[in-house]
């Protein structure tokens, strides 16, 4: 009994972490091998048909594909950067304005939580109804105000921007709440000191308050980056599997899905996934490193 306990205690860290690690390993190892393997073959139509090894041909074809691949990379980057920029700016502004306790705080907090917890596919169809070009309430209001009526999701040149706004609607609250938590940790003396120095509101916020919340801000940035890069549900719900008629909202995730399930080009689709995953890992690692550098 005692021996068992010592044995357990000596290896405790591995015993505690093993189940979770094994779970992920079991579920992830085969998919990674499977995808990496397919990406080096010309597999198409069905994954069980005989396929031949083609080396890096799929990758080469993608890297020279200016019709679907590079535009998808561009859209992924644009969607992520634009959505996150809006979410960070609005989120920080909202957090700053909610920093001090006031009446009705609970209502505001709930109002911010609701979009955040709502199911993304439901959010997608909800906005489809609101932004429907002919019968939607958004254009109904614009029409009554005598303003021009955009086609929103139905306009190929506007669809991606519209989806960025929808994403911002849903996820700005998350940034706001995380940053707000960081702001409330700031000791009040810091601010009082700044007040005594006679710093203006803007200067005080910019050079005293925000730097102290940088840990939270970067944490919000990290979480949102991963999810924005991988956005799938609202794009699929509003524009379908191909990302629209001109593939106007086709990001890397949607492209991989279309190549697999609409075109049955599993080799190419797997190559997209390999590149996509590499890109994701690079982005995540750089934000994690940045966060470490700042918080140290």
């Amino acid at each position: 009994m005692h021996a068992l306990r010592t044995w357990l205690d000596r290896r405790i860290k591995w015993i505690l972490i093993a189940p979770a690690t094994l779970f992920v390993l079991v579920l992830i190892a085969y998919p990674i091998v499977f995808t990496a393997n397919l990406s080096l073959t010309d597999a198409k139509r069905s994954t069980t048909r005989p396929s031949s090894f083609v080396g890096f041909e799929n990758f080469w074809n993608l890297l020279t594909d200016t019709h679907r691949f590079w535009p998808a990379v561009g859209r992924t980057a644009f969607f992520t950067v634009a959505a996150i920029t809006i979410e960070m700016i609005l989120g920080i502004l909202i957090a700053l304005s909610l920093r001090k306790a006031f009446r009705g705080q609970a209502i505001v907090r709930v109002a911010m939580l609701l979009p955040l917890v709502a199911t993304p596919v439901a959010v997608g169809v909800m906005w489809m109804l609101i932004l429907e070009p002919n019968t939607g309430v958004a254009n109904m209001i614009l029409r009554n105000l005598g303003l021009p009526e955009p086609l929103w999701l139905a306009d190929p040149s506007l669809a991606l921007n519209t989806l960025i706004l929808i994403d911002a609607w849903q996820w700005t609250p998350m940034v706001a709440l995380i940053v707000l938590a960081g702001l409330t940790q700031i000791p009040s003396e810091t601010e009082e000191a700044a007040d005594i120095d006679g710093a203006g509101l803007f200067k005080k916020t910019w050079s005293v308050i925000l730097p102290q919340a940088s840990g939270s801000i970067l944490a919000a940035l990290l979480i949102r980056s991963i999810d924005a890069f991988k956005t799938f549900d609202i794009l699929y719900a509003t524009k379908g599997p191909g990302g629209g008629s001109n593939h106007e909202v086709e990001t890397l995730n949607i492209l991989a899905y279309s190549l697999s399930f609409d075109y049955q080009q599993y080799g190419r689709a797997s190559a997209v996934l390999v590149l996509f995953l590499t890109l994701l890992i690079c982005v995540v690692t750089s934000i994690v490193l940045m966060r470490r550098a700042v918080t140290r």
């Binding site: 070009p133 002919n134 139905a154 008629s245 399930f261 609409d262 075109y263 049955q264």
Partner: protein, 429 residues
């Protein structure tokens, strides 16, 4: 406080455990597994009829059916995943013959039904129209039994046309003139509604392509979508929708194109005749009772609409319950079920006998029946290129449609599409 927290946790655990116990009961493991089959199909007119009549089948045969009804895209994704892994999870599968017969057959995903279909004289395989049989056949093997046919026709709103004193168009020129005269976007009234997204527009566009004298490819499988005829068709279709179509037409898919007409916002809708039931249903449509029907307009090469088989039903090659699955297929394609689908749910039957029976054709407007009969000697049997990887090819050949809608360089777009299509055809085998 602590108490509240632990009660939340207890609740989560309790729900979980409780739910876990009922799992077994729900998954139906107690039934005789060999008599329980899964049937996968998409939401649609035929599906409604199957839902209604299924209890009859279950009582008569003792076979339990799990209906797996999904949206079209979701169904297609599930097929890819499940058939790729050779899962025995699927028994009966409804598929789109022109889209999937060759792909699925080539992948070895569908059971060969050639001998089965000729076994029962009373069920009568010969009764199915030759073109519908051809659609479900690949390399002279039968992979499915047709459940529905469909043709491209003009639907028009009688009230709107009468108001403006416009005659029903019979030619491409008249169609254009009518759409122009009926187009009033300020009042949310559009001349014509048709599909505008690249992939979904391929079927409606193909009637225009044929009637302008074009085709997807020639008999030697050379791509022919950069010919003057094809370019004229792209131009015509694109400018018609750009000038007289609904707002945001480049994002309008099949269901939307139809519902714009059903909302009374479009004077003319060109689409599949099987939509008639829905369009005439007062609970769903604001134009019910006001709809007129007309033949597809004639172009430089006459009126060449398509007459296709949108759905067939087959058996998965990986099913372990082929007998029960076949029993279902035979029932679902029996005169009884197909006639009822046609009569009650306006799902046009692939059986010739259905069309000879006035009691069954009664479900359709007589105008429509006349039009459908008139198509028999001239209609084309496909509404998309007959290739294996239809999903990808539709995007290729549909691209010039979008260019035309956006008033781009159609000649260049058609040349590029033709080249891409040819590259595909050259490497298809």
């Amino acid at each position: 406080m602590r108490r509240k927290l632990s009660s939340i946790l207890t609740l989560v655990v309790a729900t979980t455990v409780l739910a876990g116990c009922t799992t077994e009961a729900l998954s139906g493991k107690s039934d005789d597994a060999s008599q329980r089959i899964s049937v996968s199909l998409a939401e649609g007119v035929h599906t409604n009829q199957i839902r209604a009549m299924l209890p009859e089948f279950e009582t008569a045969t003792g076979i339990k059916v799990d209906l797996n009804v999904l949206g079209l895209d979701q169904l297609s994704t599930q097929y890819q995943v499940k058939l790729n892994t050779q899962s025995s999870d699927l028994d009966v599968i409804y598929f789109r013959p022109l889209q999937e017969t060759r792909l699925f057959a080539d992948n070895g995903w569908l059971a060969d039904l050639t001998t089965k279909v000729s076994e029962d004289a009373e069920w009568n395989w010969e009764d199915f129209t030759p073109s519908s049989i051809a659609a479900a056949t690949a390399e002279s093997k039968v992979y499915g039994v047709p459940v529905m046919t469909e043709r491209e026709i003009i639907f028009y709103n009688k009230e709107i046309l009468a108001d403006k004193g416009i005659d029903v168009p019979t030619t491409m020129d008249e169609l254009k003139a009518a759409a122009e005269a009926l187009h009033d976007p300020q009042n949310n009234q559009f001349g014509i509604s048709m599909r505008g997204t690249a992939n979904s527009a391929v079927p409606p566009f193909s009637g225009f392509l044929y009637s302008f004298g074009g085709d997807w490819m020639d008999e030697n499988r050379n791509a022919t979508i950069d010919t003057p005829e094809a370019i004229a068709a792209f131009d015509y279709y694109g400018s018609l929708l750009r000038n007289y179509g609904p707002r945001g037409v480049a994002s309008v898919d099949g269901a939307q194109a139809r519902s714009i007409f059903m909302n009374g916002q479009a004077a003319i809708f060109i689409g599949e005749d099987s939509a008639a039931g829905l369009i005439e249903d007062p609970a769903e449509s604001q134009v019910a009772g006001k709809v007129g029907y007309a033949e597809f307009p004639s172009g430089p090469h006459g009126s060449l609409p398509w007459d296709i088989t949108p759905w067939a039903v087959g058996v998965s090659a990986f099913s372990t319950k082929t007998e029960a699955a076949w029993t279902y297929v035979k029932w679902a394609t029996s005169p009884e079920v197909l006639n009822a689908s046609m009569k009650d749910s306006t799902s046009p039957s692939p059986r010739q006998s259905s069309w000879e029976n006035p009691e069954i054709t009664e479900g359709f407007n007589p105008e429509l029946v006349t039009i459908i009969r008139s198509y028999a000697d001239r209609a084309v049997g496909y509404d998309r290129p007959l290739v294996i990887e239809v999903g990808m090819v539709r995007d290729i050949v549909g691209a010039p449609i979008i260019t035309a809608i956006n008033a781009g360089d159609v000649v260049a777009a058609a040349a590029k599409a033709n080249k891409d299509f040819q590259d595909y055809l050259d490497t298809e085998s």
